[in-house]
């Protein structure tokens, strides 16, 4: 806005809308500060301390526990947020708003944890570790979705792909006596389901939401039936064990970072590798440029000599394979056994992470971490016995997602040809 228009008091409609949005966000910051100050700060008896454990048993260098006065910390964090909210109201952070919003969110969570751990002890490093672990299948699943949707095929079948792969992983690993073979089997089955989705949506041009839903229902039915028939009879076919944790020499000895990042199983490393690889692949290579072109404007891609259908087939199969890897996590990376419907909607949450992450691998990982954090917080808090029902905590990240997608992140735009079959001529 130029000085002249401000002086004249004229605002265009879009500028007015922007002002309104900025003001709303400022008010949200202030509300958060109020909750933190009044709820988390004053909600604690004076004089109590919160103890945060920084060590996970048997890993990394030992650090002393972090002991802080609960009330004071919550109050300080509240003041910080109130300050940011005030500035936002007064003049608005423009370009830096996403970063500021992240700071407010972190402060809020920190104040919340301080309050929850008042007069008790809470293992911070352990929770970060479990956050990453729980985020792993979500991030992998979201990456699978990024692949398919960037090429223009909506993959609502993530759930079914992951579930089938989880089953296959358990079965193959048990039969072969080697978990890695199980992972390979799961990836192969994921790829196969990817091919099914590709055929349905590219060749037969079935509505992709319906095609995906069919795969989901089929996967749930088939794996439940087989696990009832086969696994209950031959339990040795459902005892694959869990992939062991690989500690990276030296790095794993670092305090906090060591146990969180460098003492994990194969799935976590694969995910941490896949996200940057996929980002570079999609945005820095010829392959990625073509995949995105096909998802945005297939006809334009066709006219420059790109084989649209082939690119779509390949990318969707690849996406299926990544979904297979995500699915194998459930049996081979965490539980060590297949249970009926054990993915329990994680495929859909991966889909949410994909959208929250704006169809970008890094965004998807960030969203997966938020969701993973909420999951692990929910299980940890059950132990601390806070007055907040744990189901509510499970809801919270999705509520935040809605708010964030609507407000702070701005528009989140799907590839233009997402879900549309390409017909030549």
């Amino acid at each position: 806005m130029t000085a002249a228009t401000r002086a004249a008091g004229v605002l265009t409609t879009s500028q007015a809308a922007e002002r309104r949005r900025a003001r709303t966000i400022g008010v949200v910051f202030l509300l958060a500060a109020a909750v933190m100050g009044a709820g988390f700060g004053l909600g604690v008896e004076a004089g109590l301390d919160s103890t945060f454990g920084l060590n996970v048993r048997g890993t990394g260098a030992e650090l002393p526990d972090l002991v802080v006065p609960s009330r004071l910390v919550a109050a300080v964090l509240a003041v910080v947020c109130a300050g940011l909210g005030g500035v936002q109201l007064a003049r608005g952070f423009t370009r830096r708003l996403p970063a500021v919003a992240a700071v407010v969110a972190v402060c809020f969570v920190a104040a919340f944890l301080t309050w929850a751990a008042a007069g008790a002890s809470f293992n911070l490093t352990g929770m970060l570790q479990s956050t990453l672990l729980r985020a792993t299948p979500l991030a992998l699943g979201a990456c699978a979705g990024v692949l398919c949707e960037r090429a223009g095929v909506v993959n609502i079948a993530l759930e079914g792909m992951m579930l089938t792969a989880a089953f296959t992983g358990a079965l193959v690993a048990s039969a072969a006596g080697d978990q890695l073979v199980g992972v390979v089997g799961a990836v192969a089955v994921g790829g196969l389901l990817g091919l099914v989705l590709a055929l349905l949506s590219i060749r037969y041009r079935v509505d992709q939401i319906i095609g995906g839903t069919v795969i989901n229902i089929f996967a749930l039915g088939l794996t439940s039936f087989l696990s009832q028939k086969v696994f209950s009879e031959y339990q040795e076919l459902n005892s694959p064990g869990v992939l062991r944790v690989v500690r990276i020499p030296l790095l794993a000895e670092l305090p906090v970072l060591g146990p969180v990042l460098f003492a994990n199983n194969l799935f976590v490393y694969a995910m941490l590798l896949l996200v940057p690889l996929l980002t570079i692949g999609l945005f820095r290579t010829r392959w990625g440029l073509r995949v995105r072109a096909v998802g945005e404007h297939p006809r334009a891609a066709d006219t420059v000599g790109i084989d649209v259908l082939q690119v779509r087939y390949r990318t969707v199969v690849l996406g299926g394979m990544v979904a297979g890897l995500a699915g194998a996590f459930f049996t081979l990376g965490s539980v060590g056994r297949f249970d009926e419907n054990m993915t329990a909607g994680r495929g859909f949450i991966a889909l949410a992470a994909l959208i929250f992450g704006r169809w970008h691998p890094v965004g998807a990982l960030a969203a997966a971490l938020v969701f993973g954090f909420a999951e692990s917080l929910q299980s940890k808090l059950a132990i601390l016995s806070t007055p907040i029902p744990s189901e509510f905590l499970l809801m919270a990240p999705y509520l935040v997602t809605l708010l964030v997608v609507a407000g702070v992140v701005g528009r989140s735009r799907a590839p233009a040809a997402d879900g549309q079959p390409y017909v030549k001529g």
Binding site: A8, T285, A300, T303, G425
Partner: protein
Amino acid sequence: MRVELRGITKRFPGVVANADVDLEVDGGQVLALLGENGAGKSTLMNVLFGLYEPDGGEILLDGSPVRFASPAASIAAGIGMVHQHFMLVPVFSVLENVMLGVETTTRLGGLDRRAARARLVELSAAYNLQVDPDADVEDLSVGAQQRVEILKALYRQADCLILDEPTAVLTPPEIDDLFRIITTLTESGRSVIFISHKLGEVRRIADRITVLRRGEVVGTTTPAESSEADLAALMVGREVQLVVDKSPARPGQPVLRVEGLRVLDERGVAVVDGVSFEVAAGEIVAVAGVQGNGQTELVEALAGLRAVDAGTVHLDGEDVTGLQPRRLLERGMAHVPEDRQRDGVVGAFPVRDNLVLNTFRRRPFARGLRIDRRAIRDNASRLMADFDIRAASPEVAAATLSGGNQQKVIVAREFGHADRLLIAAQPTRGLDVGSIQYIHRRIVDKRDEGAAVLLVSTELDEVLALADRVIVVFRGHIVGTVPRADATRDHLGLLMAGATA
């Protein structure tokens, strides 16, 4: 490269777009392809480019028969095409669009943007085609997009270049530049197939001219043998009168009154500033100017599609500044938008629905909550006959119509409810001479029925043919208001270039 088409036939459900078409162009030659809207020019070129499979006939390159199953094959054989409807990925940058399909890569397999950029910058300097390599295509004007398309084709170094109506959205100097490019290409032995509805242009650049009518070749000639009138007659199959005759205007009460209007573009720059004018009932006022001098934003602001930063707009004495398009429509305003693909039609909807896209809520198309299908069908049949919209049926998707016929759909719809004010931005863009004549006639009729008409055109011929008064805009300001009697080509040209009156 010598390109020959023999007996090409292409059918679509309900239409024969090309019937046994023969065509040839030699290396070093420019062949112009002429024909009415829907004659089958784009279809024929899409067959040559491998986008459509022909139902019959063959293609010969330098004498040997080839089959193109896809554009990849034709590109490999040295054919390049600039499409009538831009084939650009909106969310990609100019550079990404240009390199797509012919990416240069670094040793590690990454995109080599630096090398591609260097070549693009070099090309755009060499051919005087200005573009910003890093701008996103969705933020570009149609003229700039056209330049990107041409650069994209040049970047690929085709031996035979097809240009499907490249000049429809270019300014006269840009057209001169394009013709210089074409000459350079033919001098190096390449062949060019050039499609345009502007007959003067065609006679200027072509070595040979082939005319299509209803999918068939009706003649091949040269610029020396045929005048513009001859070409028009050959295309349409009857004599075409190239000027409309109209009586002097009898202006009534002012209908549109614009005062001190300021409008901003996407970057917040005032591209229309301090603009005031009036349009009276029974009068055609033309806004003339070189493309990109604020006309687009002015029209969008008047049509309720863009925020008004300052100033007021009155319609029949009522302040309508900032009203929604629907409210303006209810007050008798109609708008033919400049970018037909984006703002004019819903490609996936049938023609019949596109013809009532903004009037379906009213009688006779709706009664209460009920849509009257029959009324909509009758309306479609009538308008398609009146405006000579060539489509297999009113049920086909608008996107399958030829470019010019899509334009006629919009014009037909908007003219239907232009009771008080008609704002027409480039209403004849991409239309053949016969259709232009018809639309011009209808615009004059609208005026004589007592509507106010605001015509925005970058074509001086159109301005001179229709206007009762001419407003010339330059860099967002009105630099002159000229009554028709004083408006000469030279005088307007000077004003458009920024000379003050």
